[in-house]
């Protein structure tokens, strides 16, 4: 197993799992937490992440396939996506309007489906969106911060996080994000409410206003 990423909560290894190109995402213990609490929490989150992955997959969203959960070591084995991140893709294709529109269409559709399932991704960035090499489809990865919620607020914040990621890493990407929103509005039944809330969220900068 080869370590390919070390995050605040998990290490990601690349490996071949019974012939499949896979990654193993291992949540490691947080020593600041009481060990009993840490164990319960970590176990719960591993399951939560796997569940969100699978629910998305069931609903037709392209996600890494879930292979195996090692609940004793808090590892999720899943498919290793062959392709590139949307981040790289956009950096290479900034001039190609058709390509950018195509990607916006895919992102908007995927997010509408995701939110229809009441799944909040929690960490939508252009690094967590992949383009699958073989099929050109959009793949949603890293459900480590995902949770289930039907609140318009949570969905709006999800979109806002993505907007911030777009604007901070890609030049002139407002148009692209607007296109994503257009598609999202078209595909989502609660799109209008979420969009209205997004405008509020933009004004106050991600956080809920505590004005009473």
């Amino acid at each position: 197993m080869q370590l390919i990423q070390q995050g605040a909560e998990a290490k990601v290894y690349a490996l071949t799992f019974y012939g499949k190109e896979a990654i193993a995402k291992e949540r490691f213990p947080k020593t600041y937490r009481h060990p009993v609490l840490d164990k319960k929490l970590t176990a719960r989150r591993v399951i939560q992440e796997a569940r969100c992955l699978y629910r998305c997959q069931q609903a037709g969203i392209d996600t890494p396939a879930l292979y195996y959960i090692d609940s004793n070591r808090n590892i999720i084995y899943m498919e290793r996506i062959q392709g590139c991140t949307v981040k790289q893709y956009l950096l290479n294709q900034t001039d190609d309007k058709a390509a950018c529109d195509g990607i916006a269409e895919k992102i908007g559709t995927t997010l509408a489906t995701l939110h229809a399932l009441d799944i909040i991704h929690g960490d939508l960035t252009t690094s967590n969106l992949y383009i699958r090499e073989s099929t050109n489809s959009l793949v949603l990865i890293d459900f480590g911060l995902s949770f289930i919620s039907n609140l318009v607020e949570d969905k709006a914040v999800d979109l806002y996080v993505l907007e911030r990621a777009f604007l901070s890493t890609h030049p002139n990407s407002q148009a692209l994000f607007d296109k994503i929103i257009q598609v999202y509005l078209k595909r989502s039944t609660t799109g209008k409410q979420v969009y209205a809330r997004l405008e509020d969220v933009r004004l106050r900068g991600r956080k809920k206003s505590m004005v009473g």
Partner: protein, 176 residues
């Protein structure tokens, strides 16, 4: 040449081999079934009804989980072989797992799985146990009923990758 597929179990040093063989035109399923029910340990392998098995990978994941459970002393069933059958099912019912994925008296095709030992020993012993013809694993697809797979794993009709969906359901077994 043997048609058995052998590959290392991906636990620890990967020294243990897992052997998988497909047998078709089996004529003694009823007898084998009786032996298994009677707790006959000389069968010494998992005998699977491959009707809802899409790919050997699906079996390997079940084997991996069973081996892990054995090591952690977390087996839900009698031994590693019954556990492999049990793990193929996406829910916790042992009875349902064996009805759907275990050998039944009318089976004409059997997927035999052994953990450990040499391929040669496996081939010899399985050859002495099952009356039928060994076949290449590639022929698995001709015996798989995708409708059964969708039904057992509760997959929507438009599922694009049946194998991945089935394996995902297996992975979440016991966690939903």
């Amino acid at each position: 040449m043997s048609l058995t597929q052998s590959q290392p179990l991906q636990l620890h040093d990967q020294a243990t081999q897992v052997h998988v063989a497909l047998w078709i035109n089996v004529s003694n399923a009823s007898e084998l079934h009786q032996r298994l029910l009677g707790g006959d340990t000389t069968v010494n392998c998992a005998l699977i009804n491959p009707e809802a098995v899409v790919d050997p990978f699906q079996v390997m994941v079940a084997v991996h989980r069973a081996a892990e459970a054995l090591e952690q002393q977390q087996l839900r069933t009698r031994n590693i072989y019954s556990e492999i059958v049990y793990n193929l099912s996406p829910n916790k019912s042992i009875k349902e797992a064996f009805t759907r994925f275990g050998l039944n008296p009318t089976c004409k095709t059997i997927l035999a799985v052994r953990v450990g030992g040499s391929q040669e020993a496996f081939d010899n012993e399985v050859g002495a146990t099952i009356v039928g013809e060994p076949a290449a694993l590639e022929r698995l697809s001709s015996v798989t009923s995708l409708d059964k797979v969708r039904q057992y794993y509760k997959l929507p009709a438009n599922t694009s990758n049946i194998l991945n969906a089935a394996v995902g359901a297996m992975a979440l077994k016991g966690y939903t």
